[in-house]
Amino acid sequence: MRVLLSFLLLLFLVLASSAIRSSSSPVTDPFLGISPQDEKYYKSSSEIKCKDGSKRFTRAQLNDDFCDCADGTDEPGTSACPNGKFHCRNAGHSPLVLFSSRVNDGICDCCDGSDEYDGKVACSNTCWEAGKAARENLKKKIQTYNQGVVIRRKEIEQAKVGLDKDEAELKKLKIEQKILKGLVQQLKDRKEQIEKIEEKERLEKEKEEKERKEAEEAAQPGKGDGEEKTDGNEKVEGSTDGGEMPGVSQDDEILDENEHHDETGRYKDLDTDEESAAEAEPTSVLEEGTHNNPADQHVVETKEESPSSEDLIITAGSQHDGSTKKEESDEVKKVEEDIVSEKKEALSKEELGRLVASRWTGENSDKPSEADDSPKADEHENLEHTPTSPQEVEEDDGFVSDGDEETGDDGKYSDREPEDDTYEEEYRHDSTSSYKSDAEDDLDLSETTSSPTWLEKIQKTVKNILQAVNLFQTTPVDKSEADRVRKEYDESSSKLKKIQSRVSSLEKKLKQDFGPEKEFYSFHGRCFESKQGKYTYKVCAYKEATQEEGYSKTQLGGWEKFENSYQFMTYTNGDKCWNGPDRSLKIKLRCGLKNELMDVDEPSRCEYAAVLSTPARCLEDKLKELQEKLEKLMNQDQPQKHDEL
């Protein structure tokens, strides 16, 4: 009832105001600038109170262009009170409340022109057109929301399915993990047993050899030198072809090291980048022979090669190389620091210039690798002057300050309310794309693991082997059986590792915040990309955000969380900024039909901002709100139409 009443009142007022507008100049309106809700306050008596209660004023003092109330109550229609507010009715469009500073300032602020009445400027009434455009926009927005809400619902359903599937898979994997763990342990025990026996055999053999040699030496003392030599040769021969034992033990070491290596790798993967772990998974699948994909094949080959001692040496060597390099670079760095901190004696004039410039610009003149310091195109022209050595060229890059300037066509600053956003830019950014990150969504371990044959097969094989090997309790060990045990052990333990890794990544995934209705579930393992100028921005949900230019990649931040009730996604602790904060990124989410990253910007140094449109933010409540707003606007139209009639 009350709603209806106020609606009628509103209708009446709007009618009244349009009547005034058409009949007389607003200057004579003593109630100019008063909002309809307030008219009663002003009309109720001839003496009016300042709203702050500070004093009273007469009807004659209302809008007399002299400020009596510090809060502006007495001058709603003039600029006299600095704290005042001017209400334009804007029939045909939405009403607007202005600061009184806008009244008669020569700038048309209200679409009905009512804020400029002193005759200095003539404002035309643009409310109808503006209102129409606003309504159209609103309609379009509602349309987007309508569709978005549907997509969102679907996604929520899919999320439920996906989550169930994940949970089921996890459960299953855990069981398999348990079984496999047992098998691996058995194999390991057996393997160690065999190795013990082999070792024993070897020692015995050695002992025999020794005795034989001693006997021979005793027989032929005169030819000691030559004998020794031959002996040596034999020894070499022994260790290469027949020397199973040392070979095995060495292999073991290799394996261990390899394992260790693998683990570190995997640890890293989990922590920073699950890609390689994920990549590894299909390999295991392949080993089972279920797929045959050339790329995977390659992986398998590599894998097979890797445990060879030759490889190990190479790896070790390169590792060594690596560390030397690091030391070297540390040294270089230190020297550079010395140069910087000391008298710069050794610097050329140009280097000195860059160095001093870098203090203001914040660019590191010595270390050009800072990705944000990449120069603008024109700066490359410096190369013309800058001779030659690659280091100098790089320095040139490092010197230039413009790297942080996105050429993005619109900067969006985070203080903008997401709600206020228009969503209509969906088709604008063709450079944007979204795709599944190759991280782990593709990691369909479930397919293989779910096949019962796989585990059964292993179980059976292991059983067979163990039984078979069991038969040979006594020396000598059957070489082929020993190899079988070792091979089976290797394969099973690698499989176990893969399952373990998958389990841990699933567990991690299920711990993520997918939103109150799990509407962000589909974000998991997804990346969104936007190309702006020379940079490609890549945002991977629940993972990291990067800025890439050519081969250089800067981390803008690691996944932090959703903020402001899922209106923002934040990434923090990105690559360090010289003289600035660690890089970070704040992404505003808004309703859109597709997941689309846009408007990446850097409003403050190394603090990035972007917008991501997504159906996940097409909320039903918001849709209702918009519909109500539209309804209100459409109702407002009525009198305007009357007026025009």
Binding site: D52, S54, K55, D65, F66, C67, D68, C69, A70, D71, G72, S79, A80, C81, P82, N83, F99, S100, S101, R102, D105, G106, I107, K343, K344, E345, K349, E350, L352, G353, R354, V356, A357, R359, W360, G362, K376, D378, E379, E381, N382, H385, T386, D396, F399, S401, D402, D404, E405, T407, D409, D410, G411, D415, C577, N579, G580, S604, R605, E607
Partner: protein
Amino acid sequence: MRSLLFTLSLLCFASQTSLSWKKEEFRSCDQTPFCKRARSRSPGACSLIATDVTIADGDLVAKLTPKDNDDQINPLVLSLSVYGDGIVRLRIDEDHSLNPPKKRFRVPDVVVPELEEKKIRLEKFATENDPPSSVVYVSDGYEAVVRHEPFEVYVRERSGDRRRVVSLNSHGLFDFEQLGKKGEGDDWEEKFRTHTDSRPFGSQSISFDVSFYESSFVYGIPEHATSFALKPTKGPGVEESAEPYRLFNLDVFEYEHESPFGLYGSIPFMVSHGGTGKSSGFFWLNAAEMQIDVLAEGWDAESGGGESRIDTLWMSEAGIVDTFFFAGPEPKDVVRQYASVTGTSAMPQLFATGYHQCRWNYKDEEDVAQVDSKFDEHDIPYDVLWLDIEHTDGKRYFTWDSALFPNPEEMQKKLDAKGRRMVTIVDPHIKRDDSYFLHKEATEMGYYVKDSSGKDFDGWCWPGSSSYIDMLSPEIREWWGGRFSYKNYVGSTPSLYIWNDMNEPSVFNGPEVTMPRDALHVGGVEHREVHNAYGYYFHMATSDGLVMRGEGKDRPFVLSRAIFPGTQRYGAIWTGDNTAEWEHLRVSIPMLLTLGLTGITFSGADIGGFFGNPEPELLVRWYQVGAYYPFFRGHAHHDTKRREPWLFGERNTELMRDAIHTRYTLLPYFYTLFREANVTGVPVLRPLWMEFPQDEATFSNDEAFMVGNGLLVQGVYTKGTTHASVYLPGKESWYDLRNGKTYVGGKTHKMDAPEESIPAFQRAGTIIPRKDRFRRSSFQMDNDPYTLVIALNSSQEADGELYIDDGKSFEFKRGAYIHRRFVFSNGVLTSKNVAPPEASLSSQCLIDRIILLGHSSGPNSALVEPLNQKAEIEMGPLRMGGLVASSGTNVLTIRKPGVRVDQDWTIKIL
């Protein structure tokens, strides 16, 4: 505990600054041979005597020769000129008739031509015998004396005890190294770090002592980030390692807030003030590196004895002695005398006195539009949006980065539609890029400064390899000015103005981050001789260029970082790259007071501090103090977080908005003060002792300052402070600007300093004009009515002035202005015309509110004549709008008297 905390924070601070300020990159006095030599000379070392004293061409001239001239040293030529109003000019140079290797550099274009009109042509001199001296008349109060043996020059009072005012060489420290001719095997080079100065003419330095009598303190000689009253740098009680005040224009990265180290500008003008209320001044027109010692009492065995004299030692690397003695006696007389030599400050456009928003960098057109609209959204007025170096195409000035600023004209027009202007940066280093039109032209025309070998000097600055326009030449300056025409500066519009940065000049790979001293300017002038004036000439050329661009109809606005005497004639300056620290907020006041005292009144410090991120409280306090800076601009380094006033939460937005509104409310007062400075040289921002010369408690106060004669402002310079101690000088009362509360003068008051505002007071006996309506920018305030705030003194009297012109053109020079004097006396307020009769400008603006503070009775109405109308008197708000807490008080208000601002009228309180 507190002291421990303090020590800790001090330690932190020390380590922080020692990391940033690269002290070792700059020469200390010990590393500067001329300074070291001069400082180690003992009193009485000068053996020069004045001979052949005579009058020639209206000057007193003499020869200076060593008493026993065994070494056959060439005599120097001394000449002494006198100008009206108590100015004595002393010049000493080599004798040109004796063919020195080269003419020493005399700085042209600084002394205003009008000074010649004031010259008193000397026709005779009197002779005294004890000691032998020659005396000339200066003014009714003063005479100048040249003592012959040893030579000494001083100004003294003519009556009574013939008290000395200022003197030169009273301690015999005068030394003048004559130019040499480099012979075989002469090793005159000076090395500093990796740089070598070839010094083809050998040592050519000059030094002497100057004494100020009856002085408690000396002030001036900017630019240093240090206390207003200059601390002694040598003598008893001063550390051995203390440096003299250095005047050498340098681009100092992250300067310290308490240091005698030379910054971006140099004005070798010192003012003394003492307990008798008298001031005097001394100015040395010299553009070479200068070092100045303030000598502590007792530095010389002969000194001291309670004479309240301050001795100083002035040392310069090159140039000539061209010095001015200003007799005073009042502080305002000294600044006026100085202004009559170097000029008064230019009348700024009205917009330039509003708020300026700057950042390194507003990135693109959208950023500009966004920032602009945010000001409107938050109802914060501003007048100018600034673009730093990144707006250009690769730091090629006069160009635009076409990706970021594809439509610069449209952008400026959009701002202009709201009455707002834009400023772009133009620096003196030109990118050495053959495809850059400016470089091409400057190279072809030979307009660059040359290196010592005669090739175009090639230094490093923002664009990389750069050359520097030789601004010493009038022809080149004229050419440079032409670059600002709309045709030449593509993308510029009439609402675009200019910022000259890096004009010390800053050369990143040069000695001490500047140009080598042996670089060559037109006419074979060595850079060492002209260094401190380089930025001045650049500023001049740019400013004149804008005048040319506007066909002489539009007042230029050019902000410069480097300064030199005379800079005030060409535009505003700011104190360079300060830091977001409370101590930098504090030191901004002594820095600006010093600049104002030495002529540069249109000055400000970057609000918030250039480097670093100010905490919101510091930023708010900075806006509150900065609203009273003559030049009011927020600026920030590109590594800092955004800090536009609306980014720190609703409350802080409100506080900063209110600070900026305060400034806009007071714009009529500020503009009137700028006019006063333009006419008299008296600065907008004044030390307390300039208004209260007798009040010794004010002499070393550099935390409070006067804006004009009517407002006293005390900044808040510490975190978390809600109380302040404020010394209010004089015998009359003061009225709190927020609430009209009365405080007695001559006392230190403890008072609230809530977060809403810093303590500010109107002095009893003054009338301050305001415009209380808020607008987007000063442009829209044009037709708004005025408020007069009358603060009555104990005799129920007050007066004040209001100056109005069109705010932009030079028509005011032809009399198109309104200048009113309001006098309240015997219960009647009178508006009198103080403009000359030919002055003509009319204005429809009304005075619609008159506030009476300190009125003894409670009248109800007033009679307005000649309208013969009654106006109501009632209680009304002291300040409208703004923060409720500061506007709640009601005061006696004459409501709508309906008088026009351009007419004579009286209002009688009934």
